[in-house]
Amino acid sequence: MPLSYISRRLFHLLLILLGVSVLVFLMLRMIPGDPAQLLLGEYARPEELARLRTQLGLDRSYPIQYGIYLQSILRGDFGTSVRTGAPVVDEIGVRLLATIELSLAAMFIATLLGIVAGVISAVKQYSVFDYGSMFLALIGVSMPIFWLGLMLIYLLAVKFPILPMMGRISMGLEAPAVTGLVVVDTLIAGQLGACGDALRHLLLPACTLATIPMAIVARITRSSMLEVLNQDYVRTARAKGLGEAVVILRHALRNAFLPVVTVLGLNLGLLLGGAVLTETIFSWPGLGRYVVDSLMGRDYAAVQGCILIFAVLMALINLIVDLLYVLLDPRIRVHA
């Protein structure tokens, strides 16, 4: 993959982030009321307000205010949370890792099961498995996450208490944070029991968050595989005497991946939205829940920070999807 392509994409990323920063900056100016008052909350002392006003340059023109704002976020200063008094950056950092752990687990479940189901459905088209899994997928895409999460909690944590219903790990089992991903940290600390406990905590929210993308992946994989299986090069692979598993996994699936990756990329917004809901239902201490709590508490500095981080995340994931696409399809490599 040519470096120039990556650097061009990184430059685009930068432009997008600048745009988002402008929007976030304007957000606070659009809301009626004094931005300093909004940021510090209604119980702020007058001298604090005065200090923040000069700090934000509120008496100066918008461009200069924006410059000040940009400088501070580049320094990593996202302001202070009204609710906790802690720097927003620190609060976001911890929660971001919780969200990443949950999303990675969900993506893993969704892609693995979705692709397996899609491939089997395509290879055994019109079989009982095909009809069954596509029916489930249809239910899956139209499932309200909120309802699904509550049902799972009711069934597997309350009625038959097999799994924990909230949090990332049981009290007292926490391992020292190295990566911020609890499952990994407990492994690093060599505490297998704690790792198992963390995995059990992860299971319900990850399955909830995985449902919709899993259903999407299964459907796209199936239709994409059906198309690819009719291609001439699949016939060529068979004509070479290759076994059916090699034909399907190496020659067909590799090509069928491309639309799956695209559709996943297009549905990222859906995933992030799902993360917000899932974290709220399962009291998962991640960014999604944090942004909801911040909105409720009118914690504008925190909300601003979250929006910025979400934008960075979306842009980064989009970049990864595009690079993945280029890696998967040599025909794009030359044009890129």
Binding site: Y233, A239, G241, L242, R254, N255, D329, P330
Partner: protein
């Protein structure tokens, strides 16, 4: 004909479709001689490709099915050998190239990988040896700088080059038979000639037999020893090329010749065969060609017999011999 390496007897291949059962091949008989080239000709839709795919059991699944007949290869009936056995034969003892070089190679793997794959499947070679062999094969089919081309992806090559790659792949395990289904139809005229020359040359070099499907009688005249004419799923006439060109017996074959421009010949308007290949759902009883035949008679409504029309010359028609 020398002792045949491949004999197709009464092959019936059918497709289950929404509109009903399609009898794409309906009792075809063919024989391919040792180290010979057999040309199979006929208008499109007459069952040539389906016959070829039946040999290696590559029919589209689950619609396609061999409903009857035998395909004898080295004392084995390919219709009945196990799946493992047919996989050992595919690409190894019998290989196949297709009409569409643009889509027959997998776009996400290098041509080198795709050639090595078949070599490593059937020949005991490690990666390095297979790579060297793949490069040698690319050189053999006339691709310049073969070592470097191994790393190319199919989209970086022209149609002609891709068909050469397909040929290299098909020949890399030194098969006894190569099936070529209209290998040049999709290519430019100049490239067509090059590819046909190449197939002819490699056939001698490797010592294999070629099952060549084409709708081009010119191609047949040039490189085939025997020729079989197919119509609506049946072989209606077969003979040595020279015999067939001198004494075409079946009205359909005659029609095929008259629809051809004559090289350096006495001008004259081309006479296309009237009508089209009938739909396979509603074939008339008896000879399938009767509705387009300028010599049709009432008895053509009964199944015509297979008769000798000369030395080693068979024709499925009521007419000759009277």
């Amino acid at each position: 004909m020398s002792a045949p390496v491949l004999e197709i007897k009464g092959l019936k291949t059918q497709f289950q479709t929404r509109q009903g059962l399609v009898k794409a091949v309906d009792g075809a008989d063919l024989a391919l001689g040792h180290r010979e080239t057999l040309g199979v000709v006929g208008e499109s839709g007459c069952g040539k490709s389906v016959t070829a795919l039946s040999i290696l059991r590559l029919l589209p699944q689950p619609a396609g099915r061999i409903a009857g007949g035998r395909i004898i290869f080295n004392d084995r009936d390919l219709v009945r050998v196990s799946r493992a056995e047919i996989r050992r034969i595919r690409g190894n003892e019998i290989s196949m190239i297709f009409q569409e070089p643009m889509t027959s190679l997998n776009p996400v793997y290098t041509v080198g990988f795709q050639i090595q794959e078949v070599i490593r499947k059937h020949r005991q070679m490690n990666k390095g040896e297979a790579r060297t062999e793949a490069a040698r094969m690319l050189g053999l089919v006339g691709i310049p700088e073969p070592r470097a081309r191994l790393n190319d992806y199919p989209h970086q090559m022209s149609g002609g080059m891709r068909q050469r790659v397909m040929i290299a792949m098909a020949l890399s395990c030194h098969p006894q038979i190569m099936i070529a289904d209209e290998p040049t139809t999709a290519l430019d005229v100049t490239i067509q000639a090059q590819i046909l020359d190449l197939i002819g040359r490699l056939k001698e070099e490797i010592g294999m037999s070629v099952f060549l499907i084409t709708h081009d009688l010119g191609v047949v005249a040039e490189i085939c020893r025997h020729v079989a004419v197919m119509y609506a799923g049946k072989v209606v006439e077969s003979a040595e090329v020279r015999e067939l060109f001198a004494h075409p017996a079946h009205p359909y074959t005659v029609g095929l010749f008259e629809s051809l421009p004559k090289i350096g010949g006495r001008g004259g308007a081309l006479r296309p065969i009237p009508g089209v290949v009938p739909g396979l759902f509603n074939l008339p009883p008896g000879c399938a060609f009767q509705e387009r035949c300028f010599k049709a008679e009432p008895r053509c409504r009964q199944e015509p017999p297979l008769r000798a029309a000369g030395a080693d010359h068979m024709v499925r028609c009521w007419l000759p011999g009277e």
